[in-house]
Amino acid sequence: MTDTLTAPTATRGLVEITGVRKSFGPTEVLKGVSLTVEPGGVAVIVGPSGSGKSTLLRTINHLEKVDGGHITIDGQLVGYKLRGDRLHELREKEILKQRTDIGMVFQNFNLFPHLTALENVAEAPVVAQGRSKEDARRRGLELLDRVGLKDRAGAYPRQLSGGQQQRVAIARALALDPKILLFDEPTSALDPELVNEVLDVIRELATSGTTLIIVTHEMGFARDVADTVVFMDQGQIVEQGTPKEIFSNPQEPRTRSFFSKVLEPAFNI
């Protein structure tokens, strides 16, 4: 176990997933998944519906407990503490503290509808990190500016378009200065013409040094932005590699048959 290591600042956001298993009742949804994402890396997870992509993401910030295996971030175990030869589950408070390092962006945004865009962004830094309200507000406006929504700071989520809502959600996740950002199909609830405004924001983040783990069905985007593309099927990682390797020259038959269904011919050079 590596939890005694204190990570040097250079390795901010190293994610190591080792042999993670997860069952819901009798069905095993993750069957021993191992994956390493380097600090500042961008991993894109693709795969058919029900293959366990969302579940894997949710185990990374301990929204879902694992049944086996473990996950570390910069060498620190997620959700557990090693004491002697036992893993003790962390108390709620410690888990919440860990989560502030891991931002998450949901498919259906999950913005708080009764708070304005700015209040959505400025809430967590105050209550989870103890920043001053003024500080959180200023930073919130900066972040809204960064996603191109500074002039909509006072709007409630229902007064925003889907693409704008998702950009607020990204700003909200960024407000905690996370080492890692998890995206679960950030554009699949959006109309096609709104997809790009969100993808552009994520593209910009990909160069910022934050580790990104993205589940998406946007293959063109995956090819653009990913360092590593991971193909999952039936709770396992079937194949992973650079976008070029995975998209142009997949080795596994399951990968090949998946891409032959989802990639339009023009793309499959």
């Binding site: 910030n61 929204l63 709620e92 408070k93 919440l96 503290k97 860990q98 989560r99 502030t100 891991i102 931002g103 998450m104 949901f106 259906n108 999950n110 913005l111 708080f112 509808p113 009764h114 708070l115 304005t116 809430e123 967590a124 209550v127 989870a128 990190q129 409630y156 989520p157 229902r158 007064q159 909200r172 996740a173 905690l176």
Partner: protein, 347 residues
């Protein structure tokens, strides 16, 4: 009659200003003049026309019919001597009636607040992960919702018969910090508050639980993912959203409670209704005195309804795309549009 024709007619009858359509034939090339005779070639500038709002004649007819009905009812109420309005006026602000009213308000406020606080705790217990807390909460609601309030009242008042003394100490030992005769502790007032509060708690627990359940699970998940602590998640994220579902039923309950307090007459507790009964038993003016009580209940309910409106409006922030106007704002807008029109016409 549609509004579009109305506008069109008003345009024709007025001299058309500046942007008149050019004479036919000077249209853009290749359009072929003959077919386009009716349509003007250049986009017309409508900005200088006054907009006439759509007319709703049937709405006015309906309004007139209903107004007539209301007038008829009001007339009969005012002119039928058997209502004895003089007697009503005489007793409406009588000292004893006002005292009764104050007692009613006191009972409502105390048992309403305590009932909802306890109900909130019960709702949280019911939603907790502990099976013991869940079953205690469930049993509480089960018992208090299954017993008639009247029986509860009488039981509380006669608690001294069941248990002579009430004491605070360590269970199953002889250590007592505090001991008191039950009959001195449970006054009429205490029995009334106890009965109303516990009963109210059982009902409001379910209302609050329903409200909490109506909030999307994703909200809690997003809050947890942001590291927001559990207490803050409930108070800042879930409850304000649950309030939208809770408030209408909660106000129903409070209004029910205002009148429900009249049940404490079984304890001979002199709240509004009991007071009125005492008076009409003496004076035999039954109907007018019932009217006195009714009018006060109407006043209380009306005030509560106004509160309800504004509180609900407060919690609908963000839930509706745009907040509806308050009646005051509506009235102001009505006068602004309807009063300003003749002025503009004159100028």
């Amino acid at each position: 009659m549609s509004s579009a024709t109305g506008v069109a007619q008003s345009q024709q009858s007025q001299p058309v200003p500046a942007a008149e359509a050019p004479p036919a034939g000077t249209g853009t090339s290749g359009a072929g003049g003959s077919a386009t005779e009716v349509a003007p070639r250049v986009a017309k500038d409508y900005s200088s026309y006054r907009v006439v709002a759509a007319k709703h004649p049937w709405r006015w007819v309906g309004t007139a019919v209903v107004a007539l009905g209301v007038l008829a009812v009001a007339w009969s109420l005012a002119t039928n001597p058997r209502w004895e309005w003089g007697v009503v006026a005489q007793w409406f602000t009588a000292q004893s009636v006002v005292n009764g009213l104050v007692e009613t308000l006191k009972l409502t406020a105390i048992s309403g607040v305590l009932g909802f606080v306890l109900g909130f705790i019960l709702a949280l217990m019911r939603l907790s992960a502990s099976p013991l807390l869940v079953s205690v909460s469930w049993t509480f609601s089960w018992i208090f919702r299954s017993t008639p309030l009247l029986v509860q009242m009488l039981l509380w008042y006669n608690l001294g018969y069941l248990y002579e003394k009430i004491s605070l100490g360590i269970p199953f030992t002889d250590v007592r910090f505090f001991e008191v005769q039950t009959t001195t502790l449970i006054s009429q007032f205490a029995a009334a508050v106890l009965g109303l509060t516990l009963n109210q708690a059982a009902y409001s627990a379910e209302i609050i639980r329903g409200g909490i359940l109506s909030v999307d699970q994703g909200q809690l998940e997003a809050a947890a993912a942001l590291g927001i602590p559990a207490w803050r998640r409930s108070t800042r994220i879930v409850l304000p959203q649950a309030m939208r579902a809770i408030l209408p039923t909660a106000f129903n309950e409070i209004i029910g409670l205002v009148k429900g307090t009249s049940i404490v007459y079984v304890l001979a507790y002199s709240e509004l209704f009991y007071t009125v009964q005492v008076i009409y038993n003496r004076t035999q003016q039954v109907l007018p005195l019932l009217l006195v009580a009714t009018l006060w209940y109407i006043v209380i309910t009306s005030v509560l309804s106004v509160f309800q409106y504004y509180i609900e409006r407060h919690y609908s922030k963000g839930a509706v795309r745009n907040l509806p106007l308050t009646p005051l704002q509506k009235a102001r807008k009505f006068f602004a549009t309807h009063a300003a029109v003749p002025n503009r016409r004159n100028s």
